[in-house]
């Protein structure tokens, strides 16, 4: 969601300029006397006991129209995050109308232009502006597997927010003028997409991960040719098929009263008609990984750094659990203690921080490792990455490496409840995947599967940077180069 950079501003600039002298107003020292020199001591053991944590309970109900209402009451400041989420996204764009979902959801936050009889209405504020003027923020998002609209705001206005959201989905805004503006804007964005941009880079990585023609490899924004022909009627059809309470989830997280929230949900969204069951498309299983190692590369002429990602789709390794892949990704490239960090940064100083993770979609998975290295050392960087993969295949993780990786995965799992945005993000991920993300079991990938997973020829590499050193790097590392074109 778009947020004003207020808190960040406050923090970086210190919320305006007072003198920097430390306060002298408070308590007495607790320690008797300060020592005169430092004596190092070993790191202490963990505490044996800590105070128990009061966990937030999750209260779930289903309204008669099929809408699932999930309330997570988190005592604290009087704020609330609301999301109305649909387990359907750009993957369900009708063929020939790629981009329809994005515009269909975007229009919900705009204006009513005509009444039900088709008569033009006087100009009014957009839903975004109405929410803004309540001191809150409205946002929306469409990914391949998920669409949602939502509001971050004050608990005291919860009922108002739900009323506004209910109106937005029950009587969708379908402004002709805004439709034209959105379509134009997305065509413009697709024309502008450059390898330096996040969306382009994601599309490129997903292309490497799932295959060039796979639906997950195209931008959720759509395609220029489809958008040019897209009509408002097609967008309205998409709104009609998407905006049904069946399979939808209303998520409310914050300092709310659970019973009141359920009552408000029933009041504003209970009368939302269920309509026809949503149409869903199932993405095909990605093709088997390539038999020859490939490099997709894109030119970013002025870059000092080369971005490198390696992707391994997992369609042929169904027996592997998510947690097992995550554990291996952690050993390989997750954090300071990973093998890739040791190789790239500690030994050679060519990278700031490599990363490794499991890329999860509802119908496909891939393992990813990424880093950035100086462009004039791309050959070296690419070689280190490939050698680290080979090394892990030949030298499985040692107990200490596994202990660190498991500790990191547990920390990440605990972090899912660390704040309201984390709770919301976790719940939305669950809706997008269509299942609760499995918590890491901490089990190691069986040796045979690990050998298959890390087989060098199954990995596809993506390189972005100045073209000449990238080509040299690909050639020197025996990768078959393929150019990339997004549109």
């Amino acid at each position: 969601m778009k947020v004003l950079p207020i808190a960040g501003l406050c923090l970086t600039a210190g919320c305006a300029g007072a003198p920097e002298a430390p306060s002298t107003s408070v308590a007495e020292p607790v320690v008797t006397a300060a020592p005169t020199h430092w004596e190092p001591v070993p790191a202490p053991a963990p505490l044996r006991t800590v105070p128990p944590r009061r966990l937030e309970a999750r209260h779930e109900r289903q309204l008669p129209n099929g809408l699932r209402v999930v309330v997570i009451a988190r005592p604290g400041a009087p704020v609330v995050s609301i999301r109305l989420a649909f387990p359907s996204g750009a993957l369900d764009d009708p063929s020939g109308d790629l981009g329809a979902t994005q515009i269909a959801v975007g229009l919900l936050g705009e204006v009513y232009e005509r009444d039900r009889s088709g008569k033009r209405l006087p100009a009014e504020d957009s839903l975004r502006r109405k929410i803004f003027e309540k001191g809150a923020s409205y946002g929306w998002s469409v990914s391949h597997d998920l669409s949602h609209v939502g509001i971050d705001g004050y608990v005291e206005d919860l009922s108002d927010y739900l009323e506004q959201l209910a109106r937005a989905v029950r009587l969708p805004r379908r402004s002709e003028q805004m439709f034209a503006a959105y379509r134009s804007s997305y065509i413009h964005e697709l024309e502008e997409l450059e390898p330096k941009d996040g969306p382009t880079w994601s599309a490129l990585v997903e292309r490497a991960a799932f295959g060039t023609r796979h639906p997950y490899a195209r931008a959720p924004l759509g395609r220029i040719s489809d958008l040019r022909e897209l009509s408002l009627e097609a967008v309205i059809d998409r709104q009609d098929s998407l905006l049904t309470p069946r399979e939808a989830t209303l998520l409310v997280v914050g300092a709310v009263d659970v019973a009141k929230t359920h009552r408000a949900a029933q009041r504003w969204l209970g009368a939302w008609r269920a309509g026809a069951p949503p149409r869903r498309r199932r993405a095909p299983t990605p093709a088997r990984p390539p038999r020859q190692p490939e490099a997709l590369f894109v030119s970013v002429p002025h870059a000092k750094l080369a971005k490198i990602c390696a992707a391994r789709r997992l369609g042929d390794l169904r027996r592997l659990e998510d947690g097992q892949v995550e554990l291996l990704a952690e050993v390989l490239a997750g954090g300071f203690g990973s093998r890739l960090f040791a190789r790239l940064r500690d030994t050679h100083g060519v990278s700031y921080a490599p990363t490794g993770r499991l890329l999860r979609r509802r119908y496909a998975r891939a393992m990813l490792i990424c880093t950035q290295v100086p462009a004039d050392r791309a050959t070296e960087g690419l070689r280190y990455m490939r050698e680290t993969l080979v090394d892990l295949r030949e030298r499985p993780p040692e107990p200490l490496e596994l202990e660190r990786a498991r500790a990191q995965l547990s920390a990440r799992a605990a972090g899912r409840a660390a704040s309201i945005p984390a709770l919301v993000g976790h719940a939305l991920e669950e809706i997008a995947l269509g299942r609760p993300p499995r918590l890491p079991s901490g089990e190691l990938v069986p040796i045979a599967l690990q050998a298959q997973l890390l087989e060098a020829r199954r990995w596809r590499f993506v390189l972005a940077g100045p073209i000449a050193p990238l080509k040299r790097a690909a050639r020197a590392n025996g990768l078959k180069p393929r150019r990339f074109a997004l549109r």
Binding site: C10, G17, P22, S25, V31, P35, A180, L227, Y352, P374
Partner: protein
């Protein structure tokens, strides 16, 4: 008619009905309060503790007044380089990062700003002793174990970081040029916190050692401890860790005078990454008073809220405090097909709206409510909470004054904003204008008619 005027005229038109409303603050001080204590140990270390049994883990944050502004002349980037060596462990024997990961740390980071160097660590609640030990061990060992090999490696890593932060992103080079122009070539911030490449290249391990020896001391630091722990148990943990650090006075840093500033005309800068023209208006003022600063902070947020992405424009405004200098900056970015002079025109309109046109009360209130909202979301997370407590401390305020510190934006009437912004940004402080002109060739684009057949 410019896009900015379309938007602003809408705001003005809808102002009259809302004019009579009072300020609609939806929060109370209690919503922004944090139960926290502050104490000063005998070695001079300030400890702020805020237990919270609802939290999942603990957060340990140590801040030193040892940012870039304390670097000696010609040594820009030294503080940041020192931070790298101190953060992950100065030698192969003290690998704090890996040790923290093995203990399940969920956050490990170090940052350097103009004024401070800080180390942040998020841990499971049982590992609080380790977190305090790590902070103490880092300060206690200081520069004694710095190894030449690690120093050389981290200097290379910093070069990569410099490319990430200062080169390989849109408007990176114009921003560096602005920085250099605003602070002058000899200022520590002339190349950003990461430093000028020539200074980095010539930095010696001894320089880093000297810097660490002089600034990284308990009496020059604040330790913030947050999260799930029993407050009664904390003194004993402090006693065996940070309270064991020796008391050593910090040599006074030479007072830095406001840097030279010669604002004149508009400077054209080449932009290689983005195709969108950008105009930056920059004001530099030496030591403005606190009220003026408060209001400029609020003005920056108001300016940023005028546009929400509609019409393809983007507006960003902010205030940067760098020792004796305070910088106010307004950036306006327009779609690729607009000339840079259009961006200049829109920036002037936004500025005029802040300083000369009667701002609608409901817009003014909505922005202030949004500030409160974001602050409350920030207080919901341990890391942000720690940073807000530091924001109060650096202003000389105790933790119990946090609500007063965070809600200063409610003290000012919109006419105060208009008056102060006019006086400062239009009347008294000269400004410099920078035009970032895209240099990349434009590919043929579809016209509006083609996009909307």
């Amino acid at each position: 008619m410019s896009r900015a005027w379309v938007l602003l005229s809408f705001l003005v038109a809808s102002a009259s009905s809302a004019e009579a409303q009072d300020a609609q603050r939806k929060t109370q001080d209690a919503d922004l309060a944090l139960p926290a204590t502050r104490q000063v140990l005998n070695n001079g270390l300030v400890v702020i503790a805020a237990p919270d049994l609802r939290a999942d883990g603990v957060w340990v944050h140590m801040i030193f007044r040892a940012g870039a502004l304390y670097e000696p002349p010609g040594r820009s980037g030294l503080a940041h380089l020192a931070e790298h060596l101190l953060a992950t462990g100065s030698s192969s024997d003290t690998d704090y990062a890996r040790a923290a990961e093995a203990r399940g740390s969920w956050y490990f980071n170090a940052t350097t700003s103009a004024e401070t160097m800080s180390f942040e660590l998020g841990l499971p609640a049982v590992e609080l002793p380790f977190g305090l030990w790590m902070m103490a061990d880092r300060v206690g060992r200081g520069a004694e174990g710095f190894e030449p090999e690690v120093f050389r490696r981290e200097r290379e890593v910093v070069e990569v970081e410099r490319a990430l932060v200062h080169l390989d992103r849109p408007y990176a080079r114009p921003d560096l040029a602005i920085q250099r122009r605003v602070f002058g070539p000899d200022h520590p911030l002339t190349g950003g916190v990461i430093g000028h490449p020539e200074h980095l290249e010539s930095a010696e391990l001894e320089d880093v050692r000297d810097f660490v020896e002089s600034r990284i001391r308990a009496s020059n630091a604040v330790l913030i401890v947050l999260g799930r722990f029993e407050p009664e148990g904390l003194p004993a943990l402090l006693e065996t860790t940070v309270a064991r650090l020796p008391r050593r006075e910090v040599p006074p840093a030479a007072p830095r005078e406001p840097s030279a500033w010669q604002p004149k005309g508009a400077l054209a800068l080449d932009e290689r990454w983005s195709r969108q023209p950008r105009v930056s208006l920059v004001w530099k003022m030496p030591r403005p008073n606190r009220v003026t600063l408060d209001i400029l902070e609020l003005s920056a947020v108001l300016l940023g809220g005028f546009v929400d992405g509609a019409f393809g424009s983007r507006v960003h405004a902010g205030v940067l405090r760098a020792g004796a200098d305070v910088i106010f900056r307004l950036d306006v970015v327009l779609p690729y097909d607009k000339p840079v002079r259009a961006a200049q025109g829109e920036a002037e309109v936004f500025l005029r709206y802040l300083t000369a046109v009667d701002m609608p009360t409901h817009y003014y209130d909505a922005v202030r409510q949004r500030i409160d909202l974001e602050l409350m979301f920030a207080l919901d997370s341990l890391p942000q909470r720690g940073r807000l407590l530091w924001a109060a401390e650096r202003q000389g305020q105790p933790p119990e004054a946090l609500p007063a510190v965070l809600t200063r934006h409610w003290r000012w009437h919109r006419h105060d904003v208009q008056h102060t912004a006019w006086k400062t940004l239009i009347q008294s402080v000269p400004r410099l204008t920078f035009h970032a002109r895209p240099t990349r060739p434009r590919q043929p684009k579809l016209s509006w008619e083609d996009r909307n057949p």
